[in-house]
Symmetry: C2
Subunit: 82 residues, 2 copies
């Protein structure tokens, strides 16, 4: 599964699960997405577990999705492809 | 609120929310807890958001809590106190 549209507490969000072969790789990906978020000034929720990271984007200010969230989702994917 | 006992999908877990003044500090805490987890060979779920990290410990093998989870919770607290 790639990006999915989910609704949580009445807020539409973009969510994707990325899988890895261990905890360290998952944690490193979290850190990379975090750096991207800091650079962009737009911050996701990042759930890091053994071998998996769930990335969730939405725009806090509008309690939903903005075009910027789709851009950030695409940029998150690019971090994996490198 | 400090550590709370929660039950999720029938699995008892120890959970605590830590708050920070921005995303970067939250992300740095996540990385510190991740390093602790790697050293201990015991891995939590880490939910990183703007200004907050939710840490959840449980023992996958027994689908619940082991003494080791309480030790890891205490060691997570120590990372903040430093």
């Amino acid at each position: 599964p790639e990006w999915q549209l989910v609704e949580r507490h009445g807020i539409q969000q973009l969510e994707r699960l990325y899988t890895f072969s261990d905890f360290r790789q998952a944690l490193e990906f979290t850190c990379r997405v975090g750096e991207l978020a800091e650079q962009a000034g737009h911050h996701p929720a990042l759930l890091t577990e053994w071998g998996r990271v769930t990335v969730t984007w939405w725009t806090h200010k509008i309690h939903g999705l903005h075009r910027n969230d789709f851009i950030m989702a695409a940029r998150t994917d690019e971090l994996i492809e490198r």
